[in-house]
C-alpha cells in the first residue's frame, strides 16, 4: 500500500476566550477529532456550511492560526518528499521548519484573489519571491520559470502578465496568477479554500479544470474546501463532510452522495433546488449551524436532526465504518447512531406547495421596452468639466451597460434573468427602481409609465415595485430595530398608519416566518437567513406587485437557501406577486422560474420557458453557460 502524503489524526483545536468579567480564560472547542488522509494525485473535498470549521482545518494544517487558537491533541503527519525519508509531525516541528514547509510542500490558494495578491508588486516579482525562497532560483532562471508557470496556468500572454500589477488583471486571471504563485514552490499538496466561490460560473469551470490538469501533471494532492455539492460531485475523489467542527461522514464521492448515511449529508442533498420538482416545496433543514462555543455535548447535529432518537442527545455517536470497502481509500465512514438503519428511507414525504391563489394572468404588470443605461465616465474635477464645455469637444460615448432590453412580467409569474457578472442584470433591476437613470426606453408598471420621455413620476408608484438585495448583512441598517426597518417604507410612501401599527408588523413577520419578538431586536441578532427574511418582509410591507430579487440566496448556505426559496414560493402563491429573479444559479432557475431571460454584455440573447430553454438552449452563449455549471452526478 502506498503511504499517504498527508495524514491528519485526531486533530483538536480550541480558541481561548476571556470570560465576560475578564477574570478567567476559557477554551472553546473549534475542531474536534479531525482525521483524514490525502494521497498523491487525489482530490479530497471538505464539504460543509459556513461556520463548520473547513477553512480553520486548512489553516491549522499550515499552522497559520489566529493567536487565540490552541492545538489540543492530534498529529499532522506529512510524508517526506525524498525516498525513504521520515514523516514529520507538523504540529511538533519548529517554526523555522514550518516556514520551509509552507509554500514548498503545501501551498494554499484563497477564496478572494483580489485580496490575496499584493497590490503594489508585479505578478512576476510575487512569483519570484517564492522561487527565491523555496527553490533558490534567481536571475534569468527565475525569469524563465516565471514565464513557464504563467503559461502553465493558462494566462494568454505570460510576458505581459508577469509585468502586470494585480489591478490590471481580471478576477479569473488573478486567480490563475494566485495558482501560479502556489505552484512556484512545486508543492506536493495544494490547499484550495473555496477557490471559485468569488468567480462566475464560466470562470469557475475553467479554474477547476486548470486545477485538475495541474494536479494530474504534478501528482499533487488537492484538499478542496467548498460548500458546493455540485463541485464536489464533479471534481473530488473523496469527500469529508464537516459539521460543527467534526467530520460527520467521509468516503468516496459517489458513495457519500448516493448512499449517504449521515442525516446532515442527506439534508444538504435534499435541500438542493436541482433535486426538487418545481411546484414542490424543497426539503428544508431547520435552524442553522450553532455558533462556536454553543455546540451540543453529544451528537452535534441532534437539534436539527429529523431522525433523532432520545439517546442521540445523551451520548456522542460512534465513527462507524460501513461494510463493503476493499481498501483504505474506499472506506466510507459515518458519525451517527443510526448508520445502517434500514428503516430510514431516502425519500422523505415532501409537502406540496399550496395551489396558487392567483394564477398567472394575461396582461403584464411590468413592461420594459428598449431599456438602455449608460454610466457616465467617472466624474472629473470641476475645472476638467469646465474646460471640456469651453472647448466643446464631443464626449466619447461609453458602451451602454444595458442595451435595448425588453421583456414583460405577468402577475404571479417568475422571470429569471441569468448571465455572468457584468452583463447588466443588476443594472436593469436598478433602472426599473429608478435608483439609476436610464438613457432611453420605456418602463410601464401596473399601467403607469414610470420611465420614458418626459415622465416625472411621483413616488406613489414605488409601492408597486420593491427589491430584495443580495447580501443580507449589508441590506439592513445595523442601527435600526426591525420595527423601524419594516415601517420605513409605509412611512416614506405616506401609507395610512394602520399599515405599520404593531399588529400589521407582527402579521408581516409571521408571513415570513419570524416571531413577534423580532420586532424590537437589532439586525445583528439574526442569522443570514433570518436577515433575508426581514429584508423580504421590508419589501412586502408596502404590498408590491413586482418584487425584484437580486441573487437573494447567493450569500446563504444551501440549507438556508432552501428555506428562503420555499418562503418565496409560498408568498407568491399567497399574494400573486411577480418576481424578477436575478441569479446565476441554474438549480434555482429550474426550480423557481416560469421563464428565463439570458443576458450577455447588456443584451438579451435568449428568452423562453424554463423547461424548454434549459433542455434545448438555442444560443451558443446559453449553451456555454449551461455547460460550465457543475451538475450533481
Amino acid at each position: 500500500m502506498i503511504k499517504p502524503l498527508l495524514q491528519v489524526r485526531n486533530l483538536s483545536l480550541g480558541f481561548t476566550r476571556k470570560t465576560d468579567d475578564g477574570s478567567d480564560i476559557l477554551t472553546i472547542d473549534a475542531l474536534s477529532d479531525i482525521s483524514f488522509q490525502l494521497h498523491a494525485g487525489e482530490t479530497l473535498a471538505l464539504l460543509g456550511e459556513s461556520g463548520c470549521g473547513k477553512s480553520l482545518t486548512a489553516l491549522a494544517l499550515m499552522r497559520l492560526l489566529p493567536t487565540q487558537a490552541r492545538f489540543q491533541t492530534g498529529h499532522v503527519l506529512l510524508g517526506s518528499d525524498q525516498q525513504g525519508g521520515r514523516t514529520e509531525d507538523l504540529l511538533r516541528v519548529s517554526e523555522d521548519r514550518m516556514r520551509q514547509v509552507r509554500g514548498r510542500r503545501m501551498a494554499m490558494i484563497f477564496q478572494e484573489p483580489a485580496t490575496s495578491l499584493n497590490p503594489v508588486m508585479r505578478i512576476g516579482e510575487q512569483i519570484k519571491e517564492v522561487l527565491k525562497l523555496h527553490r533558490a532560483m534567481a536571475g534569468s532562471d527565475a525569469d524563465e520559470e516565471v514565464l513557464a508557470l504563467l503559461a502553465q496556468v493558462g494566462l494568454p500572454d505570460p510576458q505581459r502578465a508577469a509585468s502586470a500589477y494585480p489591478f490590471e488583471l481580471s478576477g479569473g486571471m488573478k486567480q490563475r496568477a494566485m495558482i501560479a504563485i502556489a505552484l512556484a514552490g512545486d508543492p506536493d499538496i495544494l490547499l484550495a479554500d473555496e477557490p471559485t466561490t468569488a468567480l462566475d460560473v464560466t470562470l469557475q469551470a475553467q479554474i477547476l479544470d486548470l486545477i485538475a490538469v495541474l494536479q494530474r501533471e504534478r501528482q499533487m494532492g488537492v484538499l478542496l474546501i467548498t460548500h458546493d455539492l455540485a463541485v464536489v460531485s464533479a471534481r473530488a475523489d473523496r469527500v469529508a463532510v464537516m459539521y460543527a467542527g467534526q467530520i460527520v461522514e467521509s468516503g468516496p464521492v459517489a458513495q457519500v452522495l448516493q448512499h449517504s448515511t449521515h442525516p446532515y449529508t442527506r439534508a444538504l442533498l435534499a435541500a438542493l433546488p436541482e433535486k426538487a420538482v418545481p411546484g414542490q416545496a424543497l426539503a428544508q433543514l431547520s435552524g442553522r449551524v450553532p455558533p462556536l462555543g454553543s455546540w451540543p455535548m453529544a451528537c452535534r447535529f441532534a437539534p436539527r436532526c429529523a431522525i433523532r432518537e432520545p439517546h442521540c442527545v445523551e451520548e456522542s455517536p460512534p465513527w462507524v465504518l460501513l461494510p463493503g470497502a476493499d481498501s483504505l481509500e474506499l472506506q466510507h465512514h459515518g458519525r451517527c447512531w443510526r448508520v445502517g438503519d434500514e428503516t430510514i428511507s431516502d425519500d422523505q414525504p415532501l409537502a406540496l406547495l399550496a395551489e396558487p391563489i392567483h394564477p398567472i394572468e394575461a396582461s403584464p404588470v411590468l413592461t420594459v421596452s428598449n431599456l438602455r443605461v449608460r454610466y457616465q465616465p467617472s466624474s472629473q474635477g470641476m475645472l476638467h468639466r469646465l474646460s471640456r464645455v469651453l472647448s466643446r469637444k464631443p464626449v466619447k460615448p461609453v458602451r451602454p451597460v444595458v442595451d435595448g432590453v425588453s421583456f414583460n412580467l405577468k402577475p404571479g409569474e417568475t422571470l429569471a434573468i441569468v448571465g455572468e457578472s457584468g452583463c447588466g442584470k443588476t443594472t436593469t433591476a436598478r433602472a426599473i427602481l429608478r435608483l439609476i437613470d436610464s438613457e432611453s426606453g420605456d418602463i410601464i408598471l401596473n399601467g403607469n409609465a414610470i420611465v420614458g420621455a418626459g415622465i416625472k413620476p411621483v413616488n406613489g408608484w414605488r409601492r408597486d415595485v420593491q427589491m430584495v438585495f443580495q447580501d443580507p448583512f449589508a441590506s439592513l441598517d445595523p442601527r435600526q430595530r426591525i420595527r423601524q426597518v419594516l415601517s420605513e417604507g409605509p412611512v416614506a410612501l405616506g401609507l395610512p398608519a394602520s399599515e405599520y401599527n404593531n399588529d400589521s408588523l407582527v402579521r408581516l413577520l409571521d408571513r415570513v416566518g419570524l416571531p413577534p419578538e423580532a420586532l424590537d431586536r437589532f439586525p445583528h441578532e439574526f442569522s443570514g437567513g433570518q436577515r433575508q427574511r426581514v429584508a423580504i418582509a421590508r419589501a412586502l410591507a408596502v404590498s408590491p406587485k413586482v418584487l425584484i430579487c437580486d441573487e437573494p440566496t447567493s450569500a446563504l448556505d444551501v440549507s438556508v437557501q432552501a428555506q428562503i426559496l420555499n418562503l418565496l414560493q409560498k408568498l407568491q402563491a399567497e399574494t400573486g406577486v411577480a418576481y424578477l429573479f436575478i441569479t446565476h444559479n441554474f438549480g434555482v432557475v429550474r426550480y423557481l422560474a416560469d421563464r428565463v431571460l439570458v443576458m450577455q454584455a447588456g443584451q438579451v440573447v435568449e428568452t423562453g420557458d424554463t423547461e424548454q430553454l434549459l433542455s434545448r438552449p438555442q444560443h451558443a452563449y446559453t449553451r456555454a453557460l449551461l455547460n460550465s455549471v457543475p451538475m450533481l452526478g
Binding site: S379, L435, A474, D477, E488, A492
Partner: protein, 478 residues
C-alpha cells in the same frame, strides 16, 4: 473659607455668565443627555461597556472627569458685593470677577509672595540685600534670600533648621494623605449606601468600578497631600509676581477644556453637513464643497488665526464700553479664538465623512430606502448619520488633544488667549525667560507641562479605547 460663608457669598453676589461659561455648561448638559440616551439603548450600552472594560480607559475617564469638574466650578462667575457705608446705600459690586473655584481656593489666590520661590521653599528664589546687625554692634548688608511672607509662617523667623523643616513637610503631607483617605472612605460609604438602597444594578461592570475606585482613591490621597502642604507651603512654588503656581495650573484647566471643546461646536455642524452632503449628493455639490475645503486647508492655519485674533483684539481695544470687566474682555477673545480654531479645523472631519458617505450611499440598506422613495435628508439623518456617529466621536476626542496643544503653541507666539487669563500656553510662554535665569526657575514650566500631558494623554487613551470598541473590525479580538 467655610462652606456657609461661601453659600452666603453666592447668594449675595451678582452672577456673571460669560459666553464660554454658558457654552461649557451646555456641553456638560449635552454630555449628561447623551449618557442617558446611551444607557437606554442596549446596543450603545454594550459598546460602552466594552470601552470601560479597559483599565486605562476607566482611569483616563476619571482623570478627565476630575479636570472637567474643576473647569465647571471655574465656570460659575460672580461679582462680590462691596461693603456698604450705610444700610440704605444701593448695593455696589466689585469689578473683580471671581469664579466659585476662586472662592474655594481663596488662600492660594490671595496669598502672594514677592516674586519667584521654589516648590515647598520657605525663602525667595532671589537674593535681596538684607540688613543684619551683628552681635558686636556693627551693621552689615548681606545679599541673601529672605523668608517668604506666607509660606513657612509656621516656623519661627530666621533661618529654618533642616530637620524641623522636613519634619513639618512630612507631617503635613501625612496628615493630608490621611484626610484624603478618610474623605474617600466617607465618599465610598455614601456610595455603597446609595447602591444598597437602589440595589437593582445586576450587571454592573466590576472592573470599571474597581478602577474608578482606585483612581479616585489615589486622587483623594494626592489631593489631601496637596491641601496639607498648601497650609504652609507653595506646592509648585510661585511665579514672577509671587502667585501660587498650583493655583495657576488649576485655573488653566478651564481654558484648556474650553479650547478643546468649544471649537467642536463650530467644527461639527460644518464638518457633518458639508462632508455628508458632498459624499451623498456627489456631482456639483461635491465639487463646490471639495473646492471650499481644499482652499481652506491650503491657507496656513497659524496665519489665519493670527490675523483673526489680532483684528478682534483691535476691535476689543477700540470698544472698551462693551465690557464691564476685564474678565469679560478676555472671555470674548477666548471665544473668538475658539471660533477661529473651529473654522480652520472642520476640513479634516468633513473629508473623512465625505468618504464615508460616498461608501455608504452604495450600501444596500440605503438603496432599499431610496427604493421606498425616502428623501435624501431623511436618509442622511436616519441611515448615514447614526452609522458615522462612531467616527465623529473618535475624531472629536482626538481633536480635543490637538486643540489643547494648539492653544499652547498659539499662546506661546502671542496670539492665543488674553494675557490676563491663565493657560498652559501662557505659562509655557513665560517660562522662556525663566529658564534663562540663574538659578533656573523650572517649576512653572514643569507644573504646566505635567498637567497638560496628563490631560492630553488621558484624552488620547480614552480616544483609543473608544475607537477600539466602536470599530467593528476589532470585533472578537480581545
Amino acid at each position: 473659607m467655610t462652606i456657609s460663608s461661601l453659600l452666603n457669598n453666592l447668594s449675595q453676589s451678582l452672577w456673571v455668565w460669560l459666553v464660554t461659561d454658558v457654552l461649557l455648561w451646555s456641553l456638560f448638559v449635552l454630555l449628561i443627555l447623551s449618557v442617558v440616551v446611551i444607557l437606554r439603548s442596549p446596543l450603545q450600552r454594550a459598546v460602552w461597556q466594552k470601552v470601560f472594560h479597559q483599565r486605562l480607559a476607566v482611569v483616563s475617564a476619571v482623570l478627565l472627569a476630575v479636570a472637567a469638574s474643576f473647569a465647571l466650578l471655574d465656570s460659575i462667575h460672580l461679582r462680590e458685593p462691596l461693603p456698604r457705608a450705610t444700610q440704605d446705600m444701593p448695593v455696589r459690586y466689585s469689578v473683580e470677577v471671581n469664579s466659585v473655584l476662586d472662592l474655594l481656593l481663596v488662600d492660594l489666590r490671595k496669598d502672594h509672595e514677592k516674586t519667584y520661590s521654589a516648590p515647598l521653599a520657605v525663602t525667595l528664589a532671589a537674593l535681596e540685600p538684607v540688613t543684619v546687625s551683628l552681635p558686636d554692634g556693627t551693621i552689615e548688608v548681606r545679599r541673601e534670600a529672605p523668608r517668604l511672607k506666607v509660606a513657612g509662617a509656621a516656623f519661627p523667623p530666621g533661618p529654618v533648621d533642616e530637620t524641623t523643616y522636613w519634619l513639618d513637610v512630612v507631617q503635613r503631607a501625612d496628615l493630608g494623605a490621611v484626610g484624603g483617605a478618610l474623605f474617600f472612605g466617607v465618599l465610598g460609604f455614601i456610595f455603597m449606601l446609595l447602591r444598597r438602597i437602589s440595589s437593582k444594578n445586576e450587571q454592573t461592570n466590576r472592573i470599571a468600578w474597581r478602577w474608578v475606585a482606585y483612581t479616585l482613591a489615589s486622587l483623594c490621597v494626592l489631593g489631601g497631600i496637596f491641601i496639607g502642604l498648601s497650609s504652609n507651603f507653595h506646592v509648585f512654588g510661585t511665579d514672577k509676581v509671587g502667585q501660587d503656581v498650583l493655583y495657576q495650573v488649576l485655573k488653566s484647566l478651564r481654558t484648556a477644556l474650553v479650547i478643546g471643546l468649544v471649537p467642536t461646536l463650530v467644527t461639527l455642524p460644518l464638518g457633518i453637513a458639508l462632508g455628508l452632503s458632498a459624499g451623498y449628493f456627489r456631482g456639483k455639490v461635491d465639487d463646490v464643497i471639495q473646492y471650499v475645503y481644499t482652499t481652506v486647508s491650503a491657507i496656513p492655519g497659524v496665519l489665519l488665526i493670527a490675523a483673526a485674533v489680532l483684528s478682534i483684539q483691535v476691535m476689543i481695544d477700540n470698544h472698551p464700553e462693551w465690557f464691564a470687566t476685564a474678565v469679560e474682555r478676555g472671555d470674548i477673545r477666548l471665544l473668538a479664538l475658539c471660533i477661529i480654531l473651529g473654522m480652520t479645523s472642520w476640513t479634516g472631519i468633513a473629508r473623512l465623512l465625505r468618504g464615508e458617505a460616498l461608501k455608504m450611499r452604495e450600501f444596500e440598506y440605503v438603496q432599499a430606502a431610496r427604493a421606498f422613495g425616502v428623501s435624501a435628508g431623511q436618509i442622511l439623518l436616519r441611515h448615514v448619520l447614526p452609522n458615522v456617529f462612531p467616527i465623529i466621536l473618535i475624531t472629536l476626542v482626538m481633536e480635543f488633544s490637538s486643540l489643547v496643544l494648539a492653544e499652547a503653541v498659539l499662546s506661546y507666539i502671542g496670539i492665543g488667549v488674553d494675557p490676563t487669563m491663565f493657560s498652559f500656553g501662557l505659562m509655557i510662554n513665560n517660562a522662556r525667560m525663566e529658564l534663562s535665569r540663574d538659578p533656573v526657575v523650572w517649576w512653572s514650566l514643569t507644573a504646566a507641562f505635567l498637567f497638560m500631558v496628563i490631560l492630553v494623554l488621558a484624552a488620547n487613551l480614552l480616544a483609543d479605547a473608544v475607537r477600539d470598541a466602536l470599530d467593528p473590525r476589532s470585533e472578537g479580538q480581545s
